[in-house]
C-alpha cells in the first residue's frame, strides 16, 4: 500500500508543480479580460443620454494581419487603425455616403493641389502630440511614408511607391530620402510631389498607413508593439491572432481636432476566434458586445437574432465592396467571350445569396453602389440577376466550342466563400465544363493565385474599397499594367486597351469631381459587364450586431472602414 500511495503521490506532486508553473507563467504577460462582458468600469452618464466610460468586448473571426499601420493591409486592421493613426486628412465620422467625404485630419485644411494635380501642399496643426506624449513635427509625416514604403505596406506598390516622386528610388535603396516630400518642422508645411496626376491621392493621404507616427520606429513590422499615433484611441496588450485592447489616448482631449469625436467607452477588448458562429452566439446572449462587421453571421442564427435581438441588429450595404468571380481572359476556356457570357448568364445569384445567409444584394456591375461610376440606370446585359438561365448558358458553352474543357476553380476555405465556389464548380459542370475545386487556406490564398505562372482559370475574389474612387477597383484589378508575375491582383489577366486607356485618363480626375460627374467611369463599368470580364455575384450587406448594453442608435457604421470605434457607447 505504501509504495502505491507513493507512486500516485509522486505523480500528483509533478502535476501540482506543473500547474503552479503554468499559473505563474501567465502572470508576467498582459491580462485579457474574462469572456463575459460583465466588467463595466466607472461609467458616468453624459448629456447625450448614453454613458461615457466603461469596457466592452468585441469578437472577430479573422485577425488583422498586423496592427502596425506600416504593414497591415486588411479591413480588420484598418477599422482599428483609422481611429488610432489620424492622417493629414481623414473621413467624416458619419453613416452612409457622407462618410466617404474627406475632412482635414492632423493638417489644418484639405491639401492645396497645384501644378496640374502634381503638387499637394498642407500645413500641420499646432500643438499635436503622439499618444506617448512626444510632440508631432512635419517631418514625422515623411518618416511615415518612408516606413510604409520600406516595410512595405500592402498597398504601397499601388498607391505610394510609384506615385510619389522619388518613391521608387527610396524603395530600392538608391536614395536615402524620398525626394518628392519636403517637410518644414518650424512652419509645419508639407509638400508632396507626384510623378503624375493621381486623382485619388487625397484619399491615399487618409490611409492609416500614412497616419502620422514618430521618427525612429524601425522599418520593420511591429505586430506586438505598434508605433504611437495621433487619435482618440490607442492599441495595447496585443497577443497576435488572439486578442488586443483599444484604450483611450490620454493626450487626445487636449488636441480637439474638429470632426473627430473623442469616443465614449474607455476600453475595447478584442477577442479573435475563428468560430464565427459562437462569436455571434455570444453577442446574442450578451456575453460579448460587438460582432465584427466583416464576418458573416451564420444564416442558421438569423431567425433567433431576428426574433430576440431585432432592436440591435440590422444589415447595411456599405456600398464599397464587391464579390466576383475572375475569369482568365488570356487562357482557355475563358479567353472565349461566349464561355464567359455563359457563366454570367447561367449563374444562380439566388443560390449564392442563400449561401451567404441572404446577405448578398444581386448585382451584375463591377463597381459597387457607393463608388462613383456605379451604373444606376443601365440594365444588366445578360439578364436580371436571379435564378440564372441555365439552358441558355449550356447553349453558349456549346457555341463557344469550349465544352468539356477542364477548369480549376480556386477557392478560399472560410464559409461562405468555400460554399460559393462549391456551388460554382457544380454549376460549371452543369453547363458543360469539367470543373474541379481547389481549396487554398485563407492566409495564403491571394499570394497563391497571385502567381502569374499558375494562370488561374477562375475562382473567388472580393474587393473592399481603399477609398471611394473607381481607380481603386480598375487600376488595381482590371488594368493591363497591373498584371504582375507575383502578387498579381489582376488575376483574370484582363488586358483590354480601352480599359487601360480609360484608367490612365480617368485616374487623374480628383475624387471630389467624380462625385458630381462619373459618366465616363460608368461607361467603362458597363463595357466590362458587356464583355463579361468578371462575373460579379453580389454586393455584401454587412451586419451591425451588438449586445443589449450598447446604445444601438448612436452607432456609426462608416462606409470606408466599417465600425467607428468612437461611436461605441454603453447605455
Amino acid at each position: 500500500m505504501k509504495r502505491y500511495v507513493r507512486s500516485v503521490a509522486a505523480m500528483l506532486l509533478m502535476a501540482v508543480a506543473a500547474l503552479v508553473i503554468a499559473a505563474c507563467g501567465s502572470s508576467g504577460s498582459s491580462s485579457s479580460s474574462s469572456s463575459s462582458a460583465s466588467s463595466s468600469g466607472a461609467a458616468s452618464t453624459s448629456a447625450a443620454g448614453g454613458k461615457s466610460g466603461g469596457t466592452i468586448t468585441w469578437v472577430e473571426g479573422t485577425a488583422p494581419q498586423s496592427l502596425d499601420p506600416g504593414f497591415d493591409y486588411t479591413t480588420q486592421g484598418a477599422e482599428i487603425n483609422w481611429i488610432v493613426y489620424t492622417g493629414l486628412v481623414t473621413y467624416q465620422h458619419q453613416n452612409g455616403i457622407p462618410g466617404t467625404s474627406l475632412i482635414p485630419g492632423v493638417a489644418t485644411a484639405l491639401p492645396k493641389i497645384s501644378d496640374g494635380g502634381k503638387t499637394y501642399t498642407v500645413t500641420l496643426r499646432k500643438g499635436l502630440v503622439f499618444s506617448n506624449g512626444k510632440p508631432v513635427v512635419a517631418s514625422d509625416f515623411a518618416y511615415a511614408v518612408e516606413r510604409a514604403i520600406k516595410i512595405p505596406w500592402g498597398g504601397s506598390g499601388q498607391f505610394i511607391t510609384p506615385v510619389i516622386v522619388g518613391g521608387t528610388a527610396f524603395s530600392t535603396g538608391k536614395a536615402k530620402t524620398i525626394s518628392g516630400i519636403t517637410a518644414n518642422d518650424s512652419t509645419g508645411q508639407i509638400t508632396i510631389h507626384l510623378t503624375a496626376p493621381y486623382g485619388a491621392f487625397d484619399n491615399v493621404l487618409a490611409e492609416p498607413s500614412l497616419g502620422i507616427i514618430p521618427k525612429g520606429i524601425p522599418f520593420q513590422n511591429q505586430p506586438n508593439n505598434p508605433p504611437p499615433g495621433v487619435g482618440p484611441y490607442m492599441v495595447k496588450n496585443i497577443v497576435p491572432n488572439a486578442s488586443f485592447s483599444v484604450v483611450k489616448n490620454p493626450y487626445w482631449s487636449k488636441m480637439n481636432i474638429p470632426g473627430i469625436p473623442a469616443g465614449h467607452v474607455d476600453q475595447i477588448n478584442m477577442k479573435i476566434s475563428a468560430n464565427v458562429a459562437s462569436n455571434a452566439e455570444s453577442v446574442l446572449n450578451n456575453s460579448a458586445d460587438v460582432f465584427d462587421w466583416a464576418d458573416t453571421i451564420p444564416g442558421s442564427l438569423l431567425p433567433q437574432i431576428q426574433s430576440q435581438a431585432s432592436t440591435r441588429y440590422r444589415l447595411v450595404n456599405l456600398g464599397g465592396s464587391v464579390y466576383y468571380i475572375f475569369l482568365n481572359s488570356q487562357n482557355k476556356p475563358f479567353n472565349n467571350q461566349l464561355a464567359r457570357e455563359a457563366v454570367v448568364t447561367g449563374l444562380n445569384q439566388d443560390a449564392m445569396s442563400r449561401l451567404g445567409s441572404g446577405t448578398l444584394t444581386p448585382a451584375c456591375f463591377f463597381l459597387p453602389p457607393a463608388i462613383p461610376g456605379h451604373p444606376t440606370s443601365a440594365s444588366c446585359p445578360y439578364g436580371t440577376p436571379g435564378l440564372g438561365n441555365l439552358a441558355k448558358a449550356k447553349q453558349l458553352v456549346q457555341q463557344s466550342g469550349m465544352a468539356g474543357q477542364p477548369v480549376t476553380v480556386w477557392s478560399q476555405e472560410r464559409a461562405p466563400r468555400q460554399q460559393w465556389m462549391t456551388y460554382y464548380t457544380q454549376f460549371l459542370n452543369q453547363i458543360g465544363f469539367k470543373a474541379t475545386q481547389k481549396l487554398i487556406s485563407d492566409p495564403t490564398y491571394f499570394t497563391t493565385i497571385g502567381q502569374l505562372k499558375l494562370h488561374p482559370q477562375t475562382g473567388f475574389l472580393d474587393w473592399n474599397q481603399d477609398f471611394p474612387n473607381p481607380v481603386d477597383f480598375y487600376g488595381v484589378l482590371l488594368d493591363g499594367h497591373a498584371i504582375l508575375p507575383t502578387n498579381n491582383e489582376n488575376v483574370g489577366e484582363v488586358n483590354d486597351p480601352y480599359i487601360n486607356a480609360q484608367v490612365a485618363k480617368l485616374g487623374q480626375v480628383p475624387t471630389v469631381q467624380l462625385q458630381h460627374n462619373s459618366a465616363a467611369w460608368q461607361a467603362v463599368d458597363e463595357y466590362v459587364a458587356k464583355k463579361a470580364y468578371v462575373a460579379t455575384f453580389g454586393y455584401q450587406r454587412f451586419p451591425e450586431f451588438v449586445s443589449n448594453r450598447i446604445n444601438f442608435n448612436s452607432l456609426v457604421f462608416q462606409s470606408v472602414y466599417g465600425w467607428d470605434l468612437t461611436s461605441f457607447q454603453l447605455k
Binding site: A277, L301, A351, S353, R354, G358, E413, A415, Q419, K438
Partner: protein, 342 residues
C-alpha cells in the same frame, strides 16, 4: 486516441503485453482454430464486427442508394429548389441559408447541407471515401512497416540504426501536426503526377504517419525471433536472407499483423477525419466524414444534423472497429486464458 495527442506510446505499451509466441496449446487444436473459438464466444466483439461490416456494405452501396432512392448524386446541390414534405413543397435551403432538416423520406432522408446536397447520400459516399482512405493507408502502413521492421530486426547493425532513427523521427512529430504539414505541402503540389485532389494523397500521408507504430513492435519481435532455433536451422540449410525473411519470419508475424490491422484502420479513419476537418484531407466537393463535420459547423445551431449525422457515423464506425479489434486481440493473445480463469 491518436487523434489529439497521437502519442506513439499508446500503441507500444499496449503491444508489449502481447506476443511472445510461446503458447501452450490443447492437443489437436491449431492456434488459429483456438483463436476462432475464443472469438466466437465474445458476442460483444462479434456484434460490433457485424456492425462494421454493415457500415462497409452500406457505404459500398452508396451509388445504389443515390440513384434508386434519393435520385441525386453526392456533389449535386439544389440550393434554390424545393422538396415535398408531407404534401407541402419546402425550400431545400431557406432564403437565409438554413438547410432543411431530416425528412425521413427517400429524398433528403437526413436533410440537406448548406449547398442543398442530400446529407444521407453524402454520408454514404463520404463513408466510402473515409473507408477507402483508411484501408489504403492501413495497407501502406502495414506493408512498409513490415518491410522496415523485418529488415531492421533481421540485419541489425547499420540498417537497424538508420531505420530505427527514421522511425523515431516520424514518432517525435505529433501525428496531426505531421499530417497537416505533409497534407498542406501535398494538397498544393500533389505527389509527382498525382493531383492534390486525389484520395491517394491523404491515404499516403496517413500511411506514413503510422509506420513506427507497427514497425517498432515488428522489429522487436524479429530481433527476438532471429535467435530462435528454426532460423538457425534455415541458415544452416543455406537459405538466402531474403528467403528466410519471407518464408520463415513473415508467417510467424501473422498474429501481430492481424491484431494491428483494426488498430491502424481505426486510427487511420480518425486521422483522415481530423485532416479533412483541418482542410488538408479529402478535398471538396468530395465528401468525407471529416469535411462534412467541418462544413456542418458553419450551419450550427439551426442545422445541427449536419454535424451530428456524420459525427455519429464516424464514432460508430471507429468504435465498432476498435471493439472488434479488442476482441480479436483477446482471442489471439495466448494469455487470454488468464482472463477466462480469473
Amino acid at each position: 486516441m491518436a487523434t489529439t495527442s497521437a502519442s506513439g506510446t499508446e500503441f507500444s505499451a499496449g503491444l508489449n503485453a502481447g506476443f511472445e509466441a510461446d503458447e501452450e496449446l490443447p492437443p489437436g487444436l491449431g492456434p488459429w482454430r483456438l483463436a476462432w473459438r475464443r472469438l466466437r464466444r465474445n458476442h460483444v466483439a462479434l456484434f460490433f464486427g457485424g456492425l462494421f461490416l454493415l457500415i462497409v456494405v452500406m457505404c459500398a452501396l452508396a451509388p445504389v442508394y443515390a440513384s434508386d432512392v434519393a435520385h441525386t448524386g453526392p456533389n449535386v446541390g439544389n440550393i434554390t429548389g424545393t422538396v415535398t414534405v408531407g404534401g407541402h413543397p419546402e425550400n431545400i435551403v431557406s432564403l437565409t441559408g438554413i438547410p432543411i432538416g431530416p425528412t425521413y423520406h427517400s429524398r433528403y432522408f437526413f436533410g440537406a447541407d448548406a449547398n442543398g446536397r442530400d446529407t444521407a447520400v453524402r454520408l454514404l459516399y463520404g463513408g466510402r471515401n473515409s473507408l477507402e482512405i483508411g484501408f489504403i493507408a492501413t495497407i501502406i502502413t502495414m506493408v512498409l512497416a513490415m518491410i522496415v521492421g523485418i529488415i531492421a530486426g533481421y540485419h541489425r547493425g547499420i540498417a537497424d540504426g538508420l531505420i530505427s532513427r527514421g522511425m523515431d523521427i516520424i514518432w517525435a512529430f505529433p501525428a496531426v501536426l505531421l499530417g497537416v504539414t505533409l497534407g498542406t505541402v501535398l494538397a498544393v503540389g500533389g505527389i509527382g503526377p498525382i493531383h492534390g485532389n486525389n484520395l491517394f494523397v491523404p491515404a499516403f500521408v496517413i500511411g506514413i504517419v503510422y509506420i513506427p507504430y507497427v514497425g517498432k513492435p515488428v522489429r522487436a519481435q524479429v530481433l527476438q525471433m532471429r535467435e530462435r532455433e528454426f532460423i538457425d536451422a534455415a541458415r544452416q540449410q543455406g537459405l538466402s536472407h531474403t528467403r528466410i525473411m519471407f518464408s520463415e519470419i513473415l508467417p510467424n508475424l501473422a498474429s501481430t499483423v492481424i491484431v494491428f490491422i483494426p488498430l491502424i484502420l481505426a486510427n487511420a479513419i480518425l486521422l483522415e477525419a481530423a485532416l479533412s476537418y483541418l482542410g488538408v484531407g479529402v478535398q471538396p466537393p468530395n465528401p468525407s466524414w471529416g469535411n462534412m463535420i467541418s462544413d456542418g459547423i458553419s450551419t450550427i445551431p439551426a442545422a445541427f444534423h449536419n454535424v451530428l449525422v456524420p459525427g455519429v457515423m464516424l464514432v460508430l464506425c471507429v468504435m465498432s472497429i476498435n471493439i472488434f479489434g479488442d476482441g480479436l486481440r483477446d482471442a489471439l493473445d495466448p494469455r487470454a486464458k488468464v482472463r477466462i480463469a480469473h
